[in-house]
């Protein structure tokens, strides 16, 4: 008979046997409403928990007590769930969130970013890894309150004078008295911004060394400026090295 040799039939029959056996053996195991089963696994869990705390297995009477307690807890838990007590509860929500976050954090910290990921992060956030540009400069100040309506004229004359005098112009009597220095040695752009304000810093960052330029306004008045030296900020790492400090710090920033 061909039918007897048909693998599909074998499959169906075998399947039926397995299902029947499973239904037979587990007929008492499925928790029906109103029934609580303490399985081997649960029992083992209870015993292990006790042993961890007390450094010995529970005695018979202790175990009975623990099981009783488990049953009570399970009953209360099911009852509470069926009444919907888990809903709109701050503590339950917070605990679930915490569990999920633990899970996610754990996963995130375990995955090592690939070189490609780090490289694209570096390119996207280059500013984070750039050292600041610095400037050395001289400046001459004109006080608008002293100069009044002649300010524009005085600015033009001062600029021309300074351009004639060149890089080593004697500034002892140039411009107006001013509390800030005329000569600034290597100063970061952030420090220039702090001292003179944003407009001045932006102007300075457009200048190349070697000529008197201006006028530029600050919060104090106007200035003629000579950049003696400028150092562009540079990227501390352009390529992702396979190991070492830049990679480590990049990894840290990336992970956060």
């Amino acid at each position: 008979m061909k039918l007897i040799r048909e693998p599909l039939l074998h499959f169906i029959l075998l399947g039926a046997v397995i299902f029947a056996a499973f239904a037979f053996f587990s007929r008492n195991r499925t928790d029906k409403p109103g029934e609580i089963f303490v399985t081997e696994g649960t029992l083992e869990n209870i015993i292990n928990g006790f042993t961890r705390t007390w450094q010995r297995p529970p005695s018979q009477s202790e175990l009975r007590g623990l099981v009783q307690d488990y049953i009570r807890e399970e009953a209360a838990y099911r009852e509470a769930l069926s009444m919907g007590l888990d809903r709109d509860d701050t503590i339950v929500r917070r605990r679930l969130r915490q569990k999920l976050e633990f899970l996610l954090d754990d996963n995130a910290s375990r995955t090592e970013p690939t070189d490609a990921e780090l490289q694209s992060f570096l390119e996207k956030h280059a500013a984070l890894f750039r050292s600041e540009p610095t400037f050395a400069f001289r400046q001459v100040y004109l006080n608008p309150q002293l100069r009044g309506t002649n300010l524009a004229q005085d600015e033009a004359r001062l600029l021309a004078d300074l351009q004639r005098a060149g890089p080593n112009a004697d500034l002892s009597y140039a411009g107006d008295p001013f509390l800030l220095a005329q000569n600034f040695e290597t100063t970061s752009l952030a420090e220039v911004r702090q001292t003179f304000g944003d407009q001045f810093a932006r102007f300075l960052s457009t200048l190349s060394p070697g000529s008197w330029s201006g006028p530029v306004a600050s919060g104090f008045g106007t200035h003629i400026v000579f950049v003696t030296q400028r150092n562009e900020g540079r990227l501390i790492a352009e390529q992702i090295p396979s190991s070492g400090f830049p990679r480590h710090s990049l990894h840290n920033i990336f992970s956060h």
Binding site: G175, P177, L179, A181, N183, E185, R193, Q194, G219, F220
Partner: protein, 647 residues
């Protein structure tokens, strides 16, 4: 050139001094070589570079010496969740999320910061909030933790703060020195500071606040370390609760000496809020003994407390109108209803021992009697914010507590309320910062500048203020292109001393101020003089030295007319059309008596600008009650220069 002549003269003088100070018999050293040989070592001519041999401070560094984070029990209880790490990050200019959930950022980074959390109960709140097992194992800790988790944070906060005040916190969970919890918190503070410290760019000091507050009377001091964690880790902060700590400043000073002896490091202490001490901050009679202060007190205080925090969120402490009735600017951001917790009302006779100017005056008197001046302090401002945010610009004010971070209600909610009175939210003062003239931005340089008092206070704006005193300043020094060079060459900077007046000479002062580059113009510079007369009475007088605009003092009263007012309150704006961007002048004391002790300090006033309450009203579209001030004149106070008659 003038500058060169001065420098040349001083080199010759230096040469002479060096030569004179080598009397062979006084030292067991070699006899001096002939003068012409010495001249080769000390050249007559100054170096070509005018910048060589010139290492005085050229830049003022801005910071806050007094900021609390969630590590302070009260800050944590009132909702602060930011840590010392967050606080340093914010001070460096990064945008962060405040505890109230709003994005916050400074207009400009600060140059330095001291996180100064209360040493009593240090680090308690982060442990509680995170449900640390040590806390939740204790019944009281468990109860608080569960209340927190149930959203009863406010009730917990009140319970904790009152229990702490009564000493009713369970011993098992109270972080006191010696416990693991306490040491953990201190290590974390040290680590945060050491990691944030970036020499040359940003200084993160290790520090804490010693919060002596018996009876609600504020005797608080901030402790600042010059050192890094390798030394600070060897000790634990000093607390006020017995038996480990004490509420008496004398015991704190002993602790400070103990630290220095044990580790070879250095610490300094800065007191604040005399206005909430009810007559105890600058005592003549010590509140702890009822006896007059003695020489030991004066000596130790002068050594340990070289600075005073004169302005902060809980009011301005320079001068009080009751003590200085002739000072039209004394009534500034006044907090004088009582002590810190308003458990005791203020009485007028307490004021003399609370305000900086009165203390500087009493110091002269004490010096006459004890031979040493206990109140010879320089002045700085700081925030005392309990938010982790050192943000006190009027247009960017982040409040005293997390509960007073920006909101439409913060101005009209009471901050403190007892049967003795109420302090409303709007009374908070958006103030102040510390300006430090240091040679570089490092812990060492800033600390040393603080110790020599070359510092000043502002109520927020970052104006540059120079103040030099000497005997030879001339009017034309004020028109020098680089006044600082003249100042350091011919005189002493703020915080310095003058003595031995040359016959017939009065002290002269070079005073200069430059407005905040993004702030308001200046109204005027004043010199405030205090002195002790031959009968042992102290006096004060205020001189308007230089001002913006072409105003003339009233010929009868001598009073300078007000600068004017451009504030548009509804729009919270002003214009720099009045005042001056820079003021500079040489001033000579017209009433100098070489036999009388005296001090001189500078007060710089800005033109009127909108107060934080005006910015709040504009942003939230609310109307403030009529009693709420909406504008003010921000200011700076320098450390004094003292004159002491020669012997």
């Amino acid at each position: 050139m003038r500058g060169h002549k001065i420098a040349a003269t001083s080199v010759v003088i230096l040469g002479l001094l060096v030569a004179l100070s080598f009397p062979a018999q006084a030292f067991a050293q070699e006899p001096p070589p002939p003068a012409q040989d010495l001249e080769k070592v000390f050249p007559k001519k100054p170096p070509y570079s005018p910048y060589a041999n010139r290492h005085f401070p050229e830049r003022v560094y801005w910071g806050d010496t007094h900021l609390h984070t969630s590590f302070s029990m009260d800050a944590g209880a009132f909702g602060c969740r930011l840590t010392p790490r967050d606080a340093y990050r914010f001070a460096k200019g990064y945008e962060i999320t405040a505890s109230s959930g709003q994005p916050a950022r400074l207009s400009r980074p600060l140059d330095f910061l001291v996180v100064a959390d209360h040493s009593d109960g240090f680090g308690f709140f982060p442990l509680l909030f995170n449900g640390d097992p040590k806390i939740t194992a204790d019944p009281q800790g468990r109860r608080w933790y569960e209340m927190l988790q149930n959203g009863q944070g406010a009730a917990v906060a009140i319970d904790i703060v009152t229990s702490f005040g009564k000493g009713a916190i369970s011993k098992a969970i109270l972080p006191v020195p010696g416990t693991v919890a306490y040491q953990g918190a201190w290590q974390e503070v040290i680590k945060s500071a050491d990691e944030a410290n970036d020499p040359g760019r940003f200084t993160a000091f290790i520090g804490y606040e010693w919060t002596s507050n018996t009876g609600g009377n504020n005797l608080h001091r901030n402790i600042i370390f010059r050192d890094d964690g390798s030394r600070a880790r060897l000790i634990e902060p000093y607390t006020t609760q017995k038996p480990l700590g004490s509420d008496n400043p004398r015991d704190l000073w002993k602790w400070m000496s103990g630290y220095e002896e044990k580790t070879g490091g250095h610490v300094l202490a800065i007191a604040h809020n005399g206005n909430l001490s009810n007559g105890r901050m600058f005592p003549i009679i010590e509140s702890f003994t009822g006896k007059p202060i003695d020489r030991e007190y004066a000596e130790t205080r002068a050594l340990r407390e070289r600075l005073y925090e004169v302005t902060q969120i809980k009011g301005d402490g320079e001068a009080h109108p009751f003590l200085s009735p002739n000072d039209e600017f004394a009534n500034y951001e006044r907090w004088d209803k009582g002590n810190l917790d308003l458990s005791e009302k203020k009485k007028p006779e307490m004021l003399e021992f609370e305000y900086a100017r009165a203390a500087l005056r009493n110091g002269l008197k004490q010096e006459q009697e004890l031979g040493i001046n206990p109140y010879k302090f320089g002045m700085i401002g700081s925030t005392d914010a309990h938010t982790g945010l050192a943000a006190i610009d009027e247009d960017n004010y982040w409040g005293k507590f997390t509960t007073s971070e920006p909101s439409p209600q913060r101005a009209t909610h009471p901050l403190i309320k007892t049967e003795n009175g109420t302090i409303m939210g709007w009374e908070e003062t958006a103030s102040g910062y510390a300006g430090v003239w240091a040679t570089e931005n490092t812990r060492e340089a800033l600390f040393d500048a603080m110790q020599r008092k070359e510092v000043y206070a502002t109520t927020g704006p970052r104006m540059v203020v120079r103040f030099f005193g000497g005997w030879d300043f001339e009017n034309r020094d004020a028109s020098s292109r680089n006044p600082a060079v003249v100042g350091y060459t011919k005189g002493v900077p703020m915080g310095g001393d003058l003595s031995n007046a040359p016959t017939g000479k009065s002290p002269s002062f070079l005073v200069a101020a430059l407005k905040d580059p993004i702030g308001a113009n200046l109204d005027r510079i004043q010199v405030i003089k205090g002195w002790l007369d031959s009968k042992g009475e102290t006096h004060e007088k205020i001189y308007d030295v230089v001002w913006g605009g072409d105003r003339k003092p009233d010929p009868k009263t001598g009073k300078l007319p007000p600068v004017g007012d451009t504030v548009d309150v509804p729009n919270a704006t002003y214009t720099n059309t009045i005042g001056a961007s820079e003021l500079i002048k040489v001033w000579k004391d017209p009433e100098f008596d070489p036999a009388q002790r005296a001090f001189y300090y500078v007060r710089v006033l800005e033109i009127p600008t909108p107060r934080w309450t005006a910015y709040d009203a504009k942003y939230y579209g609310i109307t403030m009650p009529p009693e709420v001030p909406m504008k003010g004149q921000e200011r700076a106070y320098t450390s004094p220069i003292w004159y002491t008659p020669g012997k």
